[in-house]
Symmetry: C2
Subunit: 377 residues, 2 copies
């Protein structure tokens, strides 16, 4: 338990709420979830599911219709065939990450991760007595691992690599060819790739490709939380290789029993044209926010050397202002009411020189935040 870190931003968030309760105006740029509520067609489907009495357990792997709908989605969006039977519905990407790591990792196994990266990943590995090795990444590789980095850090004990594209906290994606090379490198060594594609829909430049296009041996994690705007419903999915389906299914039975039934029924509406139109409008809004906030922060003196491809984060080098990003974030909160996340939540590689801005707030608020930062800095 001593190896498991709490989210440091939570203390900051608590302080932000305290200040708000005391009447201070706070600009939230620390929160990693869309500010939009769940789209109306999904909410309506959830309400109908409740009215229809869909309140009992589903099978551990999820509603057959939803698994089939996601299978169809892979065909339509990526042009690939993933049988529904390989798709397991989970309690969020969180549940999928737990199934994938628990199924693959034995005590002592090493798992390579990008540092900075999503903080929970190393803890999923630690939970089952694996050893997460953060590989320092920077702007040179778009804050992502490369085939070359995987090769360099691989050793006898390494059995898996866990990546996200686009990633949290950097928003950067792995280009299709680079991803293909990573998959090939891992599989040549007999290892497995766990690929977190939770931010796949939220992409602003060149299209991303799913890792499933390059191998049927990867484990792909996804979620209804971010692009589909369903964070609080706790729903995601895992695509497992054929030979692991039985394994992850028995694990899901024992750890979760099943994912939320009303959420699963609601999620069926996420693949309708009405919902798609809302998601697309929201994606464009996030893009507009990125295109506002990125140059504004650069102008203030934050270094953001790589333009993020997706998600809703900017990972900024604040070395011009501080070498203590945690104290810096706390001070900014107290002095300006602007809440951001210190780098320490994302790993051990230069955390003290980085902060994360989330553009999960409308442009007028972001503009006010920038103005306050300008005055303070």
């Amino acid at each position: 338990m001593t190896d498991i870190a709490p989210f440091h931003v939570m203390a900051l968030l608590a302080r932000a709420k305290e200040l708000e309760a005391a009447g201070r105006s706070i600009i939230h740029m620390e929160i990693g979830e869309p500010d939009f509520p769940t789209a109306e067609p999904i909410v309506a489907a959830g309400q109908r599911a409740l009215a229809a009495g869909h309140t009992r357990y589903t099978a551990a792997a999820g509603l057959p219709e939803l698994r089939q709908t996601i299978s169809d989605h892979y065909r339509e969006r990526y042009g690939i065939e993933i049988p529904a039977q390989r798709i397991l519905i989970t309690p969020g990407a969180s549940g999928a990450l737990q199934l994938a790591t628990a199924a693959l990792i034995n005590p002592g196994d090493r798992v390579l991760l990008a540092d900075p990266g999503y903080p929970c990943n190393r803890h999923f590995v630690r939970l089952v007595e694996g050893r997460a090795t953060g590989v320092p990444v920077g702007p040179e590789t778009g804050y992502q691992l490369t085939a070359e980095l995987v090769e360099r850090h691989w050793d006898e004990q390494t059995t898996a690599v866990l990546l996200a594209s686009p990633a949290n906290p950097t928003g950067t994606a792995i280009a299709p060819e680079a991803l293909a090379a990573i998959v090939a490198t891992i599989e040549a060594r007999g290892g497995r790739l766990i690929m977190d594609e939770i931010y796949h829909g939220l992409i602003y430049g060149a299209p991303v490709q799913t890792a499933l296009a390059y191998s049927d041996q990867v484990l792909v994690v996804n979620s209804f939380s971010k692009y589909y705007g369903m964070t609080g419903w706790r729903l995601g999915w895992l695509v497992a290789p054929e030979d692991l389906v039985g394994t992850v299914e028995k694990l899901a039975q024992n750890l979760f029993l099943a994912a939320s039934t009303p959420a699963q029924h609601a999620a069926l509406a996420a693949f309708t044209p009405a919902a798609a139109a809302i998601f697309e409008a929201r994606r464009r809004e996030f893009l507009a926010r990125r295109d506002f906030l990125l140059p504004a922060l650069r102008e203030l003196g934050f270094r953001i050397p790589v333009t993020p491809d997706g998600a809703f984060y900017l990972y900024a080098d604040c070395g011009r202002f501080t070498d203590d990003s945690h104290g810096f974030a706390l001070r900014l909160l107290e002095e300006t009411g602007v809440a951001i996340t210190p780098g320490i939540d994302f790993g051990g590689h230069l955390p003290h020189r980085h902060v994360r801005f989330a553009y999960t707030n409308a442009i007028p608020q972001l503009a006010e935040g920038v103005e306050r930062l300008r005055r303070a800095l």
Copy 2:
């Protein structure tokens, strides 16, 4: 992964559904969840929460109002004070069991469980490299551990005991004095008790007491699934000792992020008088079913030596008919359309001579099931 067992009843359930799809009439007595849908006041509260846009993440520990409401519930129902801050909202009792086991158990630690018992428990222990030791229990001790059994099986490596009262698959409860003695025995050895009280509301005889009444060091698991009829919503809670609150909270942040938001809002309505009246009516209905099914099965020749105190299960010795309860259950399904759960799902102590009947079906169906069994046996 080879140590993790799937639920064997799932194969049987799949076969039952196949038979049903082919037009056969199936009497379901294998299913461990109430046949009632979620009570109307809770459904309505869930729909209102969705309409109000309560669809984003809550704090990892849950909605403050819900934690406070549960704290009030401990005062009103048991007469004890549990500060809301010690109550964490989880994705089902499943989530609470995972937090409790992961927080307490180090690799190699031994955890004592009752055998037969809830099948997932040994897997939660196994997941974090602990060693679950099933202690064989029979009718002599009401299928429960006693202080004496804990003492006898405790060794240097033992650090915790995980019990349920009333239990699955036996429905038997631990009497207050016996529970107090168990707690004292464990704590005298420096160990911890994890107590699963998921079936606490569903009790038909003498009142049960929460383990929290005897110590503030126990970890109590509970859920909205069974008594509150919210299985598919995936909501439960953990009461943690003061000194473990920070630990389980950071674990919850990393593993789950949070429990379902609509479910948490809906669950607030579970503590209203309108909902309580529905739960009480359902409890009486379960009691009537037990009082119908128990003598009927005994008359058929099943040995059920201990009258269960709660839950909705009868754990029956079928030794008069077979020494292969799994084959017996499959044959009964094929020949009579009656679905029951073989003992093998609940542990290694005489599983081949036991089956579990769940009375999660109305009395006319139960009567039809008994009739079919009578003809077949």
